[in-house]
């Protein structure tokens, strides 16, 4: 009774075979591209570590630069100075950036929001050397270089990053959540403070941390505003403070090989900071995503 079925082949032939091959090739190209990116990072990290190695002592983190060059001495004052400057810059950029983003997404009419958006995009596109000159003209001419002028310049760099990141997470908040609060007879402002910000806090902090990482490495804004400093550890922000980017820049121009090594070590410290902050940012973001989806 049974009719012998014609044997069918499930192998790829003709067109589908060509497609299969093309698919393999494209996959290979993609893997290659990813490897190149990874390799570039690897080469940078390895070369920095290798060159920084001779200078990596505890004293690097505990001592201030030698007054007369030569081996020994450390970059402690630059670490302290950078931390202070970045912290001050964050203190300025975070509230302004977050409030700007809240105004744009929660309160402003669409045309006003678009205008602010444009302004922030332009600000983001301004070369940081121009930002440095601008702040130089604004805060340094007629006064002296100072840490707060440097921090202000860095804040200008951070502002559009913080605002944009905040805006993105605010737009992720479903409208139904706003309605839930407003339907309780709660004002818009209380809704923002009590529901929207707690919901998006992780995302806002992520954006801030990424902006901090970016600002920590910025050199150009500090060259005009915070580059002439005494080597000692200081927390006087009305004067220029030593900081890592400018230290790397000046040391790398010195003939002393010991200072070159310290410049590499400072670069390593900077990279470690950026790595840690990026990982923190990822963790925060994952946490805030979880919060919006399931407890």
């Amino acid at each position: 009774m049974a009719v012998a079925a014609e044997r069918i082949s499930l192998r790829a032939t003709g067109r589908s075979r060509r497609r299969l091959r093309l698919n393999r090739v494209m996959e290979g190209v993609a893997v290659l591209a990813a490897s190149v990116a990874l390799a570039a990072l690897g080469i940078v990290v390895v070369s920095v570590v290798v060159r920084a190695w001779p200078a990596l002592h505890v004293s690097l983190f505990t001592q201030t630069p030698n007054l007369f060059g030569g081996p020994g001495g450390g970059i402690s004052s630059a670490i302290v100075g950078s931390a202070l400057i970045v912290a001050m810059a964050t203190g300025m950029a975070l509230p302004v950036g977050v409030l700007a983003a809240i105004f744009m997404t929660e309160f402003a009419r669409p045309r006003v929001a678009a205008a602010i958006q444009l302004f922030l995009d332009v600000l983001n596109g301004v070369p940081t050397i121009v930002t440095g000159i601008f702040v130089y003209g604004l805060l340094v001419i007629g006064h002296l270089q100072s840490a707060y002028a440097g921090a202000f310049a860095l804040a200008v760099v951070m502002l559009p990053l913080v605002a944009r990141a905040t805006q993105e997470v605010l737009l992720l908040v479903p409208n139904t959540l706003r309605e839930a609060s407003l339907a309780l007879g709660v004002s818009r402002w209380r809704t923002v403070v009590g529901v929207i910000i707690p919901t998006t806090l992780g995302g806002i902090l992520t954006g801030t941390v990424i902006a901090m990482a970016r600002a920590a490495g910025e050199t150009a804004p500090l060259l005009f505003t915070c580059s002439i400093f005494a080597p000692a550890v200081s927390t006087d922000v009305t004067h220029a403070l030593p900081n890592i980017p400018v230290l790397i820049f000046t040391y790398s121009e010195q003939p002393d090989p010991a200072l070159h090594q310290q410049a590499w070590a400072a670069a390593l410290v900077l990279m470690a900071f950026i790595l840690i902050t990026s990982l923190t940012a990822r963790g925060l973001l994952a946490r805030s995503r979880r919060k919006l989806t399931h407890g």
């Binding site: 669409p110 479903p174 139904t176 959540l177 706003r178 309605e179 839930a180 609060s181 407003l182 339907a183 309780l184 007879g185 709660v186 004002s187 209380r190 009590g194 529901v195 707690p198 919901t199 919060k291 919006l292 989806t293 399931h294 407890g295």
Partner: protein
């Protein structure tokens, strides 16, 4: 209120459900909302127009009709939720206890304080179960005896027994039906006078739906309820009064209108309008 045990089955015709409930309508019905010639436009398109009827205190009023006929648009006028939609324009009048809801000097925030709303999709805050209920009272300055208030609201929403041991857990860990009851608890925790429910059970399974419906019967002692539903059995089961909205088609425009408003029993057993009859008997095209 009819025989509850058979109100769950789905294959009973709405007309039979309505006939079985001999809910006597009270004589002196206090008017809560007096809707007068209400119309809503979104930009240039008119979503509803010419809506005119009274909503009574401590009753459940159902708004039924085909989808897109403006049920949500209408109910969102009652607590000025439409103010939040850019381009929405409300014409006509709604008197709330005689006060013009859209009159000058009326604060929509205060309106929504008194007229609560539960939405189609459960939308709990990403906070703990406790904080979902407590947040509103806290913000509105009802901080006294907060724990008791939260418990009362959760009991009122028939959720207390299920969550009393995990009040600190995230509200998002609850099931859909529990989340919707939490939203009801959240709404009643601030003691509004009116509760608006826009298809509160449409995203829920039949068991959760039943518990929400039973809950509504209990709530009408303290609140005036207005419920939008596209489920006619549900309207027949829960509502005292029913408003039937439909779409009027003309000149390439479709506008929502109020076709008929009457006691639920009348709407489902002996409607005056042919369109209502076609709709409640399922002959709607």
């Amino acid at each position: 209120m009819g025989n509850r045990s058979d109100t769950i089955s789905i294959d009973v015709a709405p007309v039979e459900i309505a006939q079985r409930r001999h809910a006597p309508l009270p004589e002196n019905r206090e008017v809560v909302f007096d809707v007068q010639d209400l119309g809503v436009r979104y930009g240039a398109t008119t979503a509803v127009s010419g809506v005119d009827f009274d909503i009574y205190r401590n009753m459940i009023t159902a708004v039924i009709g085909p989808s897109g006929c403006g049920k949500s648009t209408f109910i969102r006028c009652l607590n000025r939720m439409n103010d939040l939609v850019p381009g929405a324009q409300v014409d006509g009048k709604i008197l709330y206890h005689g006060e013009d809801l859209y009159g000058s000097g009326v604060d929509p925030v205060e309106v929504r304080r008194r007229i609560g709303m539960v939405f189609q999709r459960p939308n709990p805050f990403p906070k703990s179960i406790y904080d979902n209920v407590a947040w509103g009272p806290r913000v509105l300055g009802m901080r006294k005896d907060l724990d008791e208030r939260v418990e009362r609201a959760l009991r009122g929403a028939a959720l207390w027994e299920e969550v009393k041991d995990r009040l600190k857990r995230s509200a998002l860990s609850l099931s859909g039906g529990q989340q919707q009851r939490l939203c009801i608890a959240r709404a009643i925790a601030i003691e509004p006078e009116v509760l608006l429910l826009d298809e509160p059970a449409s995203a829920l399974d039949p068991i959760a739906t039943t518990s929400i419906e039973e809950l509504m019967h209990g709530l009408k002692r303290d609140f005036t309820l207005v419920i939008v539903t596209h489920n006619m059995q549900q309207a027949a089961r829960v509502a005292d009064m029913t408003a039937f909205f439909s779409l009027e088609v003309g000149e390439g425009r479709r506008t929502g209108v109020l076709v008929e408003y009457d006691a639920t029993e009348k709407i489902f057993t002996n409607p005056s309008d042919q369109r209502t009859e076609d709709y409640v008997t399922g002959r709607f095209g």
